[in-house]
Amino acid sequence: MSAAEPVLADVPERGPGGRVPPSRWLSARLLRSELRLIAGRRRNQMGLLVLAAVPVLIAVAVRLSSPREGRGPDFLSSITSNGLFVPLAALGVELGLFLPLAIAMLAGDAVAGEANLGTLRYLLTVPVGRTRLLVTKYASLMIGALWGVAVVVLAGAIAGIALFGTGPMLTLSGTEISFGSAVWRVVLVSLYIAAGLAALGAVGLFISTLTEQPLAATVALMIFTILSWIADSVPQISWLHPWLLVDQWMAFGDLLRDPPFWDNIARGLWVDVAYAVVFGLLAWARFAGKDITS
């Protein structure tokens, strides 16, 4: 979430004052090169392939099996009526592990990876302040989150529509909405999930500033995510649940009611913003004062 930006607005640029970039807090050129780096990494491309494979796998499996009432991931039994349930079922499945893992990989590379390769030093010689570098890194993580979700949704939508067609979508409330508004609901779901992953990216960015081992940062963020899921499933500590980042992630189903139910979505977004602000500031406090030795 971009909520971290206004808070950082008091911090001055340390770059030479002559050139004023198009956005003061985001170096477009740096962001472009960062995104090119992320997109160019072979492991990231493989990761996207895996993300895209899951909805295709789900769609083909449901197509091949006989339609039956069964327990399974949410929305799975609705797929046959509308292809758009394929991306929703896939998001529900991948939100537990694969999507956070993708963010963890990106976050691990963001600072710790550069430090490990020794390129962080050179990056800091670029006339861009550390704060701006960090903001750019976070912006690339947010774009990465959106990217990952978009790949899942697009692959799922293509596979789903090809195999199951574009019938009216059945909402959880038992009403049917047209394909056009169903597309909008799926877009809203994607944005909501991307917001949650972007908040997770802020946590990852902070962890990434703590270490020079990208793998350590990735593993640490996965541990954070899995611990959050575990804590969220223990009813005895229900007082903690509203404070957990993942608590409202699965609430994306509320957007599929008629009318959409916004309470949990709003709560989830507030938690996302809070995590992004706190961990963004932590990352800033750590990174701006950090000695870069490698």
Binding site: V7, D10, V11, P12, E69, R71, D74, F75, S77, S78, S81, G92, P168, L170, L172, S173, G174, T175, E176, D232, S233, P235, P242, M250, A251, G253, D254, R257, P259, F261, D263, A274, V277, V278, F279, L281, L282, W284, A285, A288, G289
Partner: protein
Amino acid sequence: MSFFSDHPKARWALPVAAVGVIGATALTVNQTANADSGLPSRTAAQLLADVRSANVSSLSGTVVQTSDLGLPDIPGLGSSGRPGSASSSLTSLISGTHTWRVWLDGPTRQRLALVGSNGESDVIHNGTDVWLWSSADKSAVHHKLSTDQVRAGSAAEHLPSGLPSEVPSTLPSGAPRTPDEAAAAALALMGKHTSVTTSGTASVAGRSAYELALTPKDKTTLVGSVRIAIDSQEHVPLRVQVYSKKLANPAFEVGFTAVDFAKPDARQFAFTPPAGTKVTESDEMAARKGDANAGPTPIKPPADALARMQGAPTVVGSGWSTVVVAPFTLPTSQQGAGGSAADSTAQLNGILKALPTTSGAWGSGHVLQGTLFSLVLTNDGRIAVGAVPPDQLYSALAAK
């Protein structure tokens, strides 16, 4: 800013401050009680009159119900993996937190939606049609009301009627679902057994409200007090809290978290079973109408496991410490009763078998000690329920 360059450690103050601000904001938002909202004071009698004269025919809103009845965890509720995945089932009402969305438009159109995680159960009443929709198994049940039933009032009004002088929340289907129903049930309990006072004002769902406190004069009951928040303008109950003597927080609470008294969109009450839905036509309404004419039975359970109670219940004691003793046999799974009924039967059997055993001069059996009520199921096929500690139930059972 040169300050942060000179004092690098000071940077850490910013995230700490952010945590402080976020924590404080969250706590303030959650804090619903406010000291004085500048409302003119009203007596309990005035408030009750206000409630009787309240004329709200349409509203829409969100109702959150929390219960901490001290019941054992119900096996099977979390069985499908993710916690709370079964929370949209209508039989799971008795434990935990539940969110309802409510739309009312006059006596002929109501809709009630139980919001679960990625599931929803709806009750939609529109004219002579009552639909029950469950997203979990994509099934719909259709009741057709006769015209005189429609004239007699809403489907919602059928639910709380005949609530006995025992705690309404002992039955899943008898649990009040809207503040309206719960207040009606609590007000029915008043009289010589209860002292009714006003306890200041409250803020519920962003609206200012008067609070009515009902305190049992009977010292043996488990019920500490019942607090009803009444909207200061529309005079409808916005929240009902039932306090147990065992807990500091309400043992049962149902209240609006958002409410709007404007007329809801007619679209909310339209229900056409979507393609691929299992639709069950039900003639039960007609059958139950016959029962209703037979006289005011204390409990009107729906066609679920509890309907297997046979014989007439005996009532021991009066007021808040009333104990109901009834013959009861463990239900067996019924065929053709529908998936949810069979599920709840299995759940009920599981719960009853897991209860601690007890024995005394009255015999032996299983006992359930809740926060608001106790229940004893004897091995000789009797059940005793009351809003009292188990000792009172034992003496009631022995007296028979």
